[in-house]
């Protein structure tokens, strides 16, 4: 039981990290909504982050070395498909960005509520 709840905290913080990175990408898109030649960006989907989360090799001997990990390697920015392009070469769709923004905030609130629930679960066991 302890192990699985600890793992959930781990996933929760990964998700929060991913959502924050996505928020930054959206902020950059909205700020550059009128910049000529700017291409809209997004962060790789969360499943890609989970797939690339490093699996640690078991160190059963003091002589075993752990592999260096790149923790934010999966939070990579990718250019989105240009659904429409203005005359100035800008591919930001402001409406889509607003929808994404709402999605990010909603997921973030949900994530933090789940984390709170787990905190309370652990605390109720302690008290």
């Amino acid at each position: 039981m302890q192990l699985s709840s600890v793992y959930l905290f781990e996933v929760g913080s990964q998700k929060a990290q991913w959502l924050s990175a996505r928020q930054t990408a959206i902020a950059a898109n909205v700020a550059n909504a009128n910049t000529p030649g700017y291409h809209a960006v997004d962060i790789q989907p969360f499943s890609a982050v989970l797939d690339s989360s490093p699996i640690e090799l078991a160190t059963t001997n003091p002589a075993h070395m752990s592999l260096p990990q790149s923790e934010t390697g999966a939070l990579r920015e990718v250019e989105t498909d240009p659904a429409e392009q203005t005359l100035s070469g800008n591919t930001v769709n402001l409406e889509q960005q607003m929808i994404d923004l709402g999605e990010v905030t909603r997921d973030y609130t949900m994530g933090s509520n789940i984390r709170r629930a787990f905190h309370q679960l652990l605390l109720s066991a302690l008290k």
Binding site: S20, Q23, A27, V30, A31, N32, L101, V104, S112, H119
Partner: protein, 140 residues
């Protein structure tokens, strides 16, 4: 060292707000001067000003913020109006009027307004997200 992404998005939104308000300033300058002629006979009137943006890499933030690239001057020809009584009228009684089209300026103003509101929304949501995280500590 990378900054907190939520703080970064707040800064990016702030750069957007600043860029759009510069644009609004230029628009209001153009509208205010839509009838400003020169003072000497045959002199050039007010020239419409333009604003262009560029995406700029902020090294301390590690993100693309927006900045005003240049404030330029519209080089399209001036309109000529027949108004012999005007001090700026030449021998033929023609006055050069500014190359400002109020309708274009109003459209530009609406777009700047829309972009300003979008940036404001991003800033609000980022602040909300930060507060959500802080409130985790309240009842722990």
């Amino acid at each position: 060292m990378m900054q907190d992404p939520l703080q970064t998005s707040l800064r990016i939104a702030a750069s957007g707000l600043q860029a759009q308000s510069t644009r609004l300033r230029i628009v209001s300058q153009n509208i205010a001067n839509a009838q400003s002629t020169g003072s000497a006979p045959g002199a050039d009137p007010y020239s419409r000003q333009t604003v262009s943006f560029e995406s700029e890499m902020d090294r301390t933030l590690g993100a693309n913020v927006v900045a005003v690239k240049s404030i330029g001057v519209d080089s399209s020809p001036f309109k000529l109006e027949h108004d012999p009584g005007n001090p700026a009228a030449d021998e033929g009684g023609m006055v050069k009027m500014p190359n400002v089209d109020v309708l274009t300026e109003l459209a530009d103003m609406r777009e700047a307004n829309r972009s300003y509101e979008a940036n404001l929304q991003v800033a609000k949501q980022s602040a909300d997200m930060l507060n959500t995280t802080i409130s985790l500590m309240k009842d722990a």
